[in-house]
Subunit: 246 residues, 2 copies
C-alpha cells in the first residue's frame, strides 16, 4: 500500500493512536491498547508521535481525527465501533472528512450470511461505514478492518485489537528501531552531566533516563543496531562507577 498520509517517503512513517471511550477518562478501565499498538508499531519502525484519549462524542472524535490524520502517516483508532448508542467512532470519522454514513453491501451480506434470521437492525448498524471507506481483509479473518483514508478503525476490546491488528500489521513498515539499555545505581542528578554529554555526542540516537526504584534505567534507541550496541558499550564505560549490582 502506498503511504496514505502527508509524510514524505524519505522520513520515517509516523502514527497517532486515538483511544475512544468514556471509561478510559473516568478511570473505570485501564487502557491496554496503546502499549500494545505502540510496541507493535515501534518494532516495525513506525514512530508513534501522539496518542489521544477522547470521550464517546461525535464532535470530539471528529476533531481528533482531523487533527491527527493530517499530521501522521497513519492513525489507528480503538473503540466505539459496536452496535450500541455509545458507539460513535464511525460517525465521528465520517464527520471528520465530511462523508456520509452508508450501509456497506459487503458488510451487510457478511452479517446476513453469518446470522441468517437472527440478524436484527442493531446487527446491521455494524454494516454502516463512512461512504468510500476501504475494507481491509486478510486471509482467515471473517470481519474486515474499516479504513478511511489513513485512519484504521479497530475495536476497543483488547483481545479483538490484537487479532485485528495482526491482520493489518503488514501495512505498517518503516526502518525498524533497536534499543539497548543499562541500569545504574545512582540518582538521576548524579548521572545527568554524563548523560548530557553522551546524548549530545549521539544526536542520531534517542537517550532516555528513567528513575526506577533504587536504580536509573538508561535507554538508547536508534535505527542502526550496531550503532546502538557500540553506543551502549561506550555509555557502560562512561558510567562504570555507578554499575548496578546484577
Amino acid at each position: 500500500m502506498a503511504r496514505p498520509g502527508g509524510a514524505s517517503v524519505s522520513s520515517s512513517p509516523t502514527a497517532a493512536i486515538l483511544l475512544v471511550g468514556n471509561e478510559l477518562l473516568s478511570g473505570r478501565v485501564r487502557d491496554e491498547n496503546l502499549p500494545f499498538l505502540a510496541a507493535e508499531l515501534w518494532r516495525r519502525g513506525v514512530r508513534v508521535t501522539r496518542a489521544l484519549v477522547v470521550r464517546d462524542d461525535v464532535e470530539a472524535i471528529a476533531r481528533a481525527v482531523r487533527e491527527l490524520s493530517g499530521e501522521h502517516t497513519y492513525v489507528i483508532t480503538t473503540g466505539g465501533i459496536g452496535p450500541t448508542h455509545d458507539d460513535r467512532t464511525i460517525a465521528g470519522v465520517a464527520q471528520a472528512f465530511g462523508l456520509r454514513v452508508v450501509e456497506d453491501p459487503t458488510l451487510a451480506s457478511l452479517i446476513r450470511n453469518h446470522l441468517g434470521d437472527r440478524a436484527t437492525p442493531a446487527h446491521f448498524r455494524m454494516a454502516r461505514i463512512p461512504e468510500g471507506a476501504a475494507l481491509e481483509r486478510e486471509p482467515g479473518s471473517r470481519w474486515p478492518v474499516v479504513r478511511v483514508r489513513n485512519v484504521f478503525l479497530l475495536p476497543g476490546v483488547p483481545e479483538l485489537v490484537r487479532r485485528k491488528f495482526a491482520a493489518i500489521a503488514p501495512r505498517f513498515s518503516g526502518r525498524p528501531l533497536h534499543r539497548g539499555q543499562i541500569e545504574l545505581a545512582a540518582e538521576e542528578a548524579e548521572i545527568a552531566p554524563v548523560l548530557d554529554r553522551f546524548a549530545e555526542e549521539h544526536p542520531d540516537l534517542e537517550v532516555g533516563s528513567y528513575p526506577d526504584g533504587p536504580v536509573v534505567l538508561v535507554t538508547v534507541e536508534g535505527p542502526d543496531r550496531e550503532g546502538v550496541e557500540r553506543a551502549v558499550e561506550r555509555l557502560r564505560r562512561l558510567t562504570s562507577r555507578w554499575r548496578a549490582p546484577s
Copy 2:
C-alpha cells in the same frame, strides 16, 4: 482556590491529562497515571474530557499545553520534570505561555538545605521553573507541586504521582458523580434497542455499554445518587430476560 480555567462556574469543572514521555509512545512502559488521576478526579466531580500523550519534546509539550489549558478548567501533566536532558516539561510549559525559565529561590534553598555540599548544578536544574509559577505546598510534603496558571506539573513515577496528587487533591472539587452497573448475559446487538430507548429517556445520565467476555457490562452515571439508583433499578426490570448468572 478560584477556578483558574475558562469554564463557567455553573458547569462542571473539567480537566485534561497530559502524559509526557517517549517511553509511553514506544510501548516500553504502560502508563499507570491516567487511570489513577482520572479515577481520583471522577470521584471529586471533575470531568476529564481529554488525555494526550506526547513525546519528550519542547514544541510538542508547548503545543499540547496551549491547546488543553484554554479548553479545560485544569490541566495535569505527568513526567518530564527531573534533572536529565530528556526532562522537558518545564521548558514546554514555559514556551506554551511565553514565559522565561528562571531559578526559583525557594526551590533552590530547599535543595541547598537538603543536600548541602552534595548539591550539584544538576540538582539545581530542579529549581528552574517558568517565571511566575506558583508553588503549591501542603503540610508534610517536602517538595511543592509547580503550577503555571491552571496547569499542575506532576512527576512521571506513579508512586510519586500518588503522593503529589494527595497534596493537591483538595484543589479539585465539583459535584461528585455516582455510578451504577449491571451485567447482562447477552450480545450488545440484542440489548441495543432497549439501551437506546433507556438512554434517550435519561438524557441527564450517561449510559455506557461494554462487551466483557460472555457478558455486557452496562454502566449508568450521573450527579444524583438516587436518580442513578432508580434508573439502574428500571434498567434491571427492562433487561430481566438477559439477567447474568451471579
